[in-house]
Symmetry: C2
Subunit: 297 residues, 2 copies
Amino acid sequence: MLDKLEYLLALSRERHFGHAAEACGVTQPTLSAGIKQLEETLGALLVQRGSRFIGFTAEGERTLDWARRIVGDSRAMREEISALRHGLTGQLRIAAIPTALAMVAQLTTPYRARHPEVRFTVLSRTSVEILTLLENLEIDAGVTYLDNEPLGRVNAVPLYQERYQLLTSPDAPLGNRDRVTWKEVSEVPLCLLTPDMQNRRIIDGLLRGAGGSAQPTLESDSMIVLFAHVRTGRWASVMPARLAETLGLTATIRAIPIVEPEAVHTIGLVVPPREPLTPLAAALVAEAKRLVATTDP
Amino acid sequence: MLDKLEYLLALSRERHFGHAAEACGVTQPTLSAGIKQLEETLGALLVQRGSRFIGFTAEGERTLDWARRIVGDSRAMREEISALRHGLTGQLRIAAIPTALAMVAQLTTPYRARHPEVRFTVLSRTSVEILTLLENLEIDAGVTYLDNEPLGRVNAVPLYQERYQLLTSPDAPLGNRDRVTWKEVSEVPLCLLTPDMQNRRIIDGLLRGAGGSAQPTLESDSMIVLFAHVRTGRWASVMPARLAETLGLTATIRAIPIVEPEAVHTIGLVVPPREPLTPLAAALVAEAKRLVATTDP
DNA sequence: TCAGAACGATAGAAATTTTCAATCGATGGA
DNA sequence: TCCATCGATTGAAAATTTCTATCGTTCTGA
C-alpha cells in the first residue's frame, strides 16, 4: 500500500504514467495497476483518465495530501530508527535560490563537522520550484525568500537579510561612487538572473519603483555566469551584499550599496510542516538556529 | 509495510505473538515473520526476545509511535475518501467512563440524525483504559475526566461539569435533608464503583478530605447495578447530578446535593491529537461543540 | 485525410512474496 | 521430571506482483 502511495506521488510530479513508473523503478503497467488498485481499495477514481494523463479528481487530490503525509512519515520513521543506531546517516537534499547558494556552505560545513556520515545534495532552483519540491518530498529543506511572495505550507527559520549592491568596475560610470540609487542603476546595462527567478523580479520591481526599468545586457540562471562576467571588469550586475562578499571582491570590481530605497529581503531555511521532522532535517534546522544565534547578536 | 505496522500495534496491545496474530486474522508464524521483516527493513531489533514476549526495545517504542501515526493516518485517508463519495459511513467506536455513559446518548442521537449510515459502538471503560484505547487506535473517541488525573496526549472538548449528589431513600438517615456534607456522607453505607474507576477515587478523596473514609457496602463497575440497588429504597449511593437525572428519580429516591466542599469535575470528549481527525471523529467533535453551545449559555 | 508517434490499458507468463500447517527448541511451573 | 506454553523455523502451497508484448485511442503533422 505504501508503495502505491509512492506511485501516486510520482504521478503527481511527472504527470505522466511512463515517466512516473521510471522514477519509481518499475514498468508502466505496474504503475498503472498500482494506481488502479489504490482506486479500488479507496472506492473512488483518483486520476482523470482520457487518452493520456489529464489530472487528478477531487478524491485524488485529497489522497495525494494524505500520501505526502504518510509516505513522508514512513521515511521519517526509517531515518529516525536508523539514526538511533548509527547516528545521522544518509542523504540530505537541499535546494536553494541562486543568490543563496553560497551561504549553504555555512550550514553544511558545521553540519558535516557534527554528522560526518551525512551526504549532501544541493540544488539550484527557483523559489517556486523549491516549494513544489518540498511538497513532493523531493528535497528535505530549502533556502529561499521568506517574505515577498506567498510561501505556502512550510516551517521557516530566518537566516539573514539580503541587501543589494551594484557590482561594477571602478572605471565604469558610477564606479567611483560610495552609494548609488536604484534610479541610477536602472540606467546601467546589467547582468541579471532570468525572470523566473524571484531575485530578478525583486530587482525589476525596485528598478520600476525608481522610475526606470531593467535593461539586462545578459541574463542567466547561474550566479557564476553573472559573476564571471562582472569579474572581467566590463560588465555590471546587482547582487546581494553577502553573496558578493562570499564570491570575493577583487581590484577589478567594486560593490556599491544601492539606496533609495534601501531594500531588504529575508532569506530563510524552509522545511516541511511535519511534526516531528526527519532527523536529518531537524539537524539542519538546529544548525540554522545556531548560525543565526552566533551571527545576529 | 503498512500491514507490518499493524502487526506491531497488535503486538503492543496483546503483548503476545499468538494473540496479536489472531487479532490481525493471521497465523502466529505470519505475524512473527512480519515483525522480523520490519526489524530487517529498519535495521534494528524492535522486540525484546526471550522465551516469550518481554517488551519492546527503545527502537521498538519509537517505531510504535510512528506506527500509530502512520496506521491512523492511513485509516483516516480511507475514511475520508469514502466519506467524499458516500457521506459518513462506518463504525464509530466510543468509550466512556460509567458515570458518563448515559450522556453519550446526547451525542450519538443528534449525530445519527445527521449521519444515519454511521454505526456506533459504545464501551464502558475506566478513564485509564480509555486513554490506552485511544493511543492504540482501538477507539475513535472517549468521554472521560479532563481534570484531576493526567490526561496524556489527546485533544479534548469539555462537555459538562460533574457535581455530586447523595442518592438515598426519603426514609433513610439524611433522607429528609436539603443538602448534606461529605462528612455526613462518609458515615452512610454506600454503593460505589470499584476502586479502579476514577469516579470512585474522586469520591474516596472527597470523603477522606472531610475526615471520613469510604465504607462501601457494595461495589460494582456498573452504574446500572448501583442504581438498581438504590432504587429498592434500601441502599444509598453517590452519583453525579446529571446521571441521576438521566436515570430518573422516583418516589423511592431523593437526590441530595453534597456540599463542603461542593466538588466539581469536568467531563469531556477526547480524541486523538491527530490533525486532521478522521471524518467520523471530526463529526463527533462537531456534535460535542454543538451540544455545549446549546446547553451552556 | 492519413500515417506515425505517444500514451495508457490489457493479457498472459514468470517471478516473487506471502501465508500456513506442522514441528521444534526453550522456558517455566507443577 | 514432566507437561504446557511460547515463539522460531521449515517447506510447500497460494497469492500477489511484476514484467514483456501488444492493443486501442488520441493527438500531430504532412
